[in-house]
Amino acid sequence: MFSQLFLDYLFAQGFLTEQQVRDVTERKKIVKVPIGVLVINAGLMTSKQVEAVLRFQSTHDMRFGEIAIMQGYISEEQFASVLKTQPKEHVYLSQVLTEWGLMDFDAVLEQIVAFQAAYGLNDEQMARLIDNDVEEFVVSIARVGEEYPLFKEFAVQFLKVVTRFVDRNVLLRPAYQARELKYKYLAHQSLAGPGALYCCFEPDPDGMLTFARLYSKQPVMDIDELAKDSIQEFLNCVDGLFVTYLSDEGIAEYELEPPHFKEDGAVSASKPFCVLPFWLPCGEFAIFAPMQETTSI
């Protein structure tokens, strides 16, 4: 998630074109990260020191680590710890940007600092984003307000399932309030309990098939019963996790009713509800959870 957000930031700042963002997104899934990039990202060596080691390596039959330790840039223990640690996702992104000559290491690091300042994030928040902490994204990036505590938990559960079963490259858009929302397709499920809710998932009309295929692992080719059922079942699984979480945490007890799928309609509510739009490589999607008492679907 952080990589996608940072790519979007680089696009907004004019460092990358839309096509480059798409290409980098694909490439970072398969790119291998050289040890030089890992030690820079771990803050143990500078890009100048890495360049010096690589220059030395080009004329000597020695490994990167041996040279870096010999030159005194890094200790044996530090080097061993870098080898043991799985690189964070954004490190792969840095590698693609530099490998393709779109930005150099220092420029990437500078922009990570600029990104943190632009979003007004403290170091702890930034560390959680880099660790792909979904709740931090929902609160700090989408800015789902404290006035919608249940929706915030629903959004967190929903996005966790998206990143686990559909696609990790999620980009959250800013959340907003609405009273009306027209849809082409909508999956919704009633949660019966105190202040009963409709949990709603509005799939992208063009991206719905890809989403359904990725989740169900079945050959969904048309907007047919299988496609609709995949979307409904996805929502059902999210809502099951959501009500279990609410029960386990002692927040509230809800019971699920069977999910439904609707086409060409509108959600209308007398009280505003929070909408969280998000982007996936296959399209634009949205979730929301208005109170049943004040809502018609």
Partner: protein, 117 residues
Amino acid sequence: MATFVLIDDSLVARTFLRRVLENEGQSVVGEAENGLAGYDVYAKFRPDFVTIDMTMPVMGGLDCLKRIVADFPNARPIVVSSVGKQEQRQEALRLGAVQYLTKPLDVDEIKDVIKSL
């Protein structure tokens, strides 16, 4: 090889379960998309195991489980639900379920359950 009936309103969930079970050499002899129809399919085939989803239209999983266990005391139901609440889990096991699985289903978990049955 054991025989199974699958009761779930989700076509995707039934198809997934059928595929995993058949890949493991088991036989799925019938399916139904709600508890009421599921009871009839169970009564017709009397399989070794029946998987029952909890959240279904017409008749929910808990009522279906109660009816099957009441009329077929040797039934071996496996509950498959997106809800993992402890209270619901305990209730299903108390009513006679031999296993309680939570969705999204995991292939390895289903394989482990098959081995343990």
